[in-house]
Symmetry: C2
Subunit: 398 residues, 2 copies
């Protein structure tokens, strides 16, 4: 079978309209792996966790799963004991029609918080959803998990491990509440490589902290976040073992898939008109670099200035000065793209000039802060802060 | 002499237009105490400090000062060595025309960052400014220190210490970059009580952490913040000594002045349409309570929901779950004003009902989170997040 969007072998997808979204759009979706897959996952660090998070934490504990059921339109969060039962039922009904054990099903929800999930609506459409799984429906899947997202988020890499082609496919959703530590985002990464679940777990944690956890839209972290990585071995390539050339290839490709998705998340920040990459270099440690990038990327004053296409040196200096990091307040250089705008903490050149103005008109802008203290660097992905952020979030009930 | 706005005895004020603001409004202002005053101050914790901060830190070190010179329209921040010289000159010229030592003059600036201060313009108008000081001009002073503020901020309390009337007058400015640890705000508190500068220092730090540092608008902290407390003893009341009935009266009145100013700062948050008081009670410790209140008050998703007059239980739960505090995720109660909207972490009653809707339409809203873990409480003052916040900050160059 040939799909317009080829994904990792042995993974099938489907999506349907259960009536959970007021819009009537796709809102229930399924991933099914032909064979049981190794699985690793990371979950929200928010103390208030949604019901499906508890169920999924339990179900991936043994390092395996075979299906994922996701609904959008309702987060099943702040729903107490009945909510937990609903999430359990969601796994159970999906397992039933796929002929699996409920403990092999991961559950995810995203949408309005504080309202009971209509489990009957899900039960009604599940048989049809289970029976219509196809290799080619990853695109439908990616659209069914959207909430305020303005575009579906898919990324993929193909590598050769020995003679065999190995594919890593990724799908994500998210646009508001995006912050470190898994903000309202769902990410599902599937590969047909064979990887032991313990090693998968190590790789996932490492890559999440370097990609998804470095996206920030508004500093808020959701109750429902999850990134799941499944490896079903259907490629037939030999097992990926730690500290091998294959592991390096695999990890690099996985990183690229996750980075691509992260860029899409930042670009699709609620109301965003620009992607902003905040790079801090010359830091004493990577965590210092990360703190500085994060302080700049989280500052509403910096973000509104980018929306206004203003090279606001003052706000950049103010924001980085708030970071928990070693800095010499008089030794800071700042660049917009490749244009030096601050040299040794003083405004350099014409920040209102044509070069800077043109750079700020772009859809992708990088801000590079050189602390001139050490050698470490880190990048944080974010977006600007527009009228539409306020509009979306004052008119939409999460 | 009788003023429409009576202030602490022995303090004189004046304000003028030096031409630092593009608008042509008042932008240079002076406080002069007839006698040398005990002084205590707190300054921004931002690593990038404006030039006047360094000069003022030095000049209050000995616990005394006699005058304050403030300009608006230019922050004299990120201006390097020349900026430091400008701030020093500002103190020097003011001292010269007041016949003081430069080390008895405190300097403050607020406005655009990264541009040199036009010190000549200040020098030109200083003689006139010095010679026109009057008891009654505290109102003019309060207007001259405004930037994006929409109203001047003045507060006052009068108490009797023994037979003597003692007045505490306070003036503040600030509306954006307002956050813990002294965001872009300037506060000047004057009293005619007699207080030793060491004790003054203790009282000020204590009261700042319970008032100004509990205001947050956008989570950003400025380079120029300062709160100065001056006590000149001109009331003739006997000295306020620690652990006395007089100290208690004095501290309470000081707290009230600072709290009133804090409420005004939150109300005047950039683009604000509502004052939001976030109270957390039933916490294990005061710092837990503060962290929870702060997490809720800093969440752009919560703040846009209030702008939209939406009792968004989901975002409140999400925001408090992000706080660094001991919570039982299933034991949380939340009130809007006095209306219970969440009981044991579940939506209680009709959050879209008339009572809640009317409460949300008000100009002042309190959100009370009861963690049901302990006895401690803390309040954070903030405002909602509107289109105008984005407008002000994308179109205005700080």
């Amino acid at each position: 079978m040939s799909c317009s969007y080829k994904s990792a072998k042995g993974f099938l997808f489907s999506a349907t309209k259960a009536g959970l979204k007021k819009s009537g759009n796709l809102d229930l979706a399924l991933i099914f792996s032909k064979s049981k897959a190794s699985a690793a996952a990371v979950f929200t660090k928010n103390a208030v966790k949604a019901a499906p998070i508890y169920i999924s934490m339990e179900n991936v504990k043994n390092g395996h799963c075979q299906a994922v059921i996701v609904n959008s339109g309702n987060a099943n969060a702040a729903t107490g004991e009945p909510g937990l039962e609903d999430a359990q039922k969601m796994a159970f009904y999906a397992a039933q029609c796929l002929n699996l054990d409920a403990s092999d099903v991961v559950v995810a929800s995203t949408g309005v918080i504080g309202e009971r999930l209509n489990i009957q609506k899900i039960k009604d459409v599940l048989p049809n959803l289970c029976h219509s799984v196809e290799e080619c429906k990853i695109d439908e899947f990616s659209r069914a998990i959207m909430t305020t997202d303005t575009f579906p988020k898919l990324a993929q890499r193909t590598i050769m491990l020995g003679e065999k082609e190995v594919i890593i496919s990724g799908v994500a959703k998210g646009s508001g509440m995006i912050m470190p530590n898994m903000a309202t985002m769902l990410g599902f990464i599937m590969t047909d490589a064979e990887v032991d679940h313990r090693y998968l777990n190590v790789i996932l944690k490492e890559r999440v902290s370097a990609t998804f956890n470095r996206v920030t839209v508004d500093g808020d972290t959701s109750t429902n976040d999850m990134v799941l990585l499944m490896a079903n071995g259907e490629s037939g390539a030999k097992k990926v073992l730690p500290d091998t050339h294959e592991a390096e290839l695999f990890c690099n490709a996985l990183h690229e898939v996750m980075y691509d998705l992260s860029v899409m998340l930042a670009k699709d920040g609620e109301g965003a008109t620009k992607l902003i990459k905040v790079i801090t270099k010359g830091a004493k440690s990577e965590s210092d670099a990360e703190n500085v990038s994060r302080a700049v990327a989280n500052s509403p004053l910096v973000k509104t200035a980018f929306f206004g296409e203003d090279a606001n040196v003052g706000r950049l200096m103010m924001a980085l000065g708030n970071a928990d990091a070693k800095i010499y307040p008089n030794e800071i250089d700042i660049y917009i793209n490749d244009i030096l705008i601050v040299k040794s903490s003083l405004v350099a050149g014409d920040v209102r000039g044509e070069n800077v103005t043109n750079a700020l008109k772009g859809k992708e802008i990088s801000v590079t802060v050189d602390l001139n203290v050490g050698q470490a660097m880190a990048e944080i992905l974010t977006c600007d802060f527009s009228y539409d952020y306020v509009k979306i979030n004052s008119e939409y009930t999460t």
